[in-house]
């Protein structure tokens, strides 16, 4: 994206959210770009007259924000208590294995998938639960997870 495009989008977002807090604006940026690019945050800081460090500080405090590009498909493996007790962490490891991600990596190189852990999605009755983009899957098993992932390729 060129810096002209970025500037246009930033101005649009700011205009639409004139009275909203910085967090809301960051949420809008994240939904447009799928993450928070450095150059966009810098533009935001200039346009809003907010110190850049404040923008950066907020972006790193709240976990729903990502400063690194995320995959087209975001896999959220729930590790809430009910899911943990039903071996949810095994599901997380399975997802990483299937996507060839090391322990520290969260996004596949081709930016196809990002694997995140989340606590909790509120579907405890169907633990363990995995959410991929907008779809929530209950009673997930390792075998089913591999099959479901193929639908998103």
């Amino acid at each position: 994206m060129s810096s002209f495009e970025d500037a246009r989008i930033v101005d649009e977002i700011i205009k639409k959210n004139e009275k909203s807090s910085l967090i809301v604006i960051l949420q809008e940026v994240q939904s447009r770009y799928n993450y928070l690019p450095e150059q966009v945050l810098t533009l935001l800081s200039e346009r809003l007259g907010v110190p850049l460090i404040k923008v950066f500080s907020l972006a790193t405090f709240y976990r729903s924000f990502s400063l690194k590009p995320r995959g087209k498909n975001v896999i959220k493996v729930c590790l809430g208590t009910a899911c943990h007790v039903k071996s949810g962490s095994n599901l997380l490891e399975k997802a990483k294995r299937d996507l060839n991600l090391s322990e520290e990596e969260v996004t596949t190189r081709d930016l196809g998938f990002t694997v995140e852990k989340v606590r909790c999605l509120g579907c405890c009755s169907l633990a363990p639960v995995v959410r991929i983009n907008e779809d929530t899957y209950g009673s997930m098993t390792q075998g089913r997870l591999s099959k479901v992932l193929k639908n998103y390729l």
Binding site: P51, L52, I53, K54, V55, S57, F61
Partner: protein, 254 residues
């Protein structure tokens, strides 16, 4: 005026005074770390905790943040208080074992570094936030702030790169209680490298933590540092001042 008792001694202070300030009036010592008289109270280190009783309810609270109330009863060295202070110092000793001020405070209270916990290496920062508050409140620049949260919390410049707003005034360096900030004055003609950046030629000041190195303008008369050159140039051009306007520092001008 508000009347309260601290360690069974009564004191009367204006409304809005904190327990810490009131205790000072009575010459009662309460240890602090994240507190500084020229900054707004933070209440993060928990070293200054005291026991307060009001309306029959007793609780522990940081004395630097709690504003006095009429009839408040404060105790500064109960067992509960000591337990918390010991915990704070033990934990800080493991986190920043080389911090002198932590060692001194620990010695004062008879606290030793717990062997059971693995010490953290090479990090003097205790996250007291004094540098951030000083930058924001005293200098008004907002160059640094906290990033991340929880155990990974750190004091940082945007994107961990060179801070675009830092003016190398050095207040953070002076106000840091543990010496976690490294600052270097580069002499005239001397060359030094900014971390992850270019070389600067003195007179300049490098603050390593924020990866900032700025050429400083020195007063032609007394030699004291006035401010970073680029800021003065910007101001000078903006307000259309003569070229040699900032050559003499404000005190020398008088």
């Amino acid at each position: 005026m508000v009347k309260l008792t601290i360690d069974n001694q009564t004191v009367e202070v204006p409304e809005g005074t904190t327990i810490l300030e009131a205790a000072e009036k009575l010459n009662i010592y309460i240890p602090t770390l994240c507190h500084h008289e020229s900054l707004t109270p933070y209440g993060g280190c928990r070293l200054c905790v005291v026991e307060v009783t009001q309306n029959g309810v007793t609780d522990l609270t940081s004395s630097c943040t709690y504003k006095v109330e009429e009839g408040l009863k404060v105790k500064t060295t109960t067992e509960r208080v000591k337990r918390v202070r010991r915990l704070v110092l033990e934990l800080l000793l493991v986190e920043s074992p080389e911090a002198q001020i932590v060692q001194d405070l620990a010695m004062e209270m008879g606290v030793r570094r717990p062997e059971r916990l693995k010490p953290r290496k090479d990090d003097l920062c205790i996250l007291c936030g004094r540098c951030i508050r000083a930058c924001r409140e005293v200098v008004g620049v907002n160059a640094i702030d906290f990033a991340e949260r929880g155990y990974s919390k750190k004091v940082a410049a945007p994107f961990y790169k060179s801070s675009p707003d830092c003016i190398a005034c050095g207040v953070c360096f002076y106000i840091c209680p543990t010496g976690a900030i490294t600052m270097r004055e580069v002499e005239k003609g001397e060359k030094a490298r900014i971390p992850e950046g270019e070389e600067v030629t003195g007179p300049a000041r490098i603050i390593y933590n924020w990866k900032v190195g700025l050429a400083m303008k020195r007063c032609k008369k007394c030699g004291e540092i006035i401010a970073p050159e680029f800021q003065l140039e910007y101001l000078r051009k903006k307000v259309n001042l003569p070229e040699d306007h900032f050559d003499i520092c404000p005190s020398c001008r008088e």
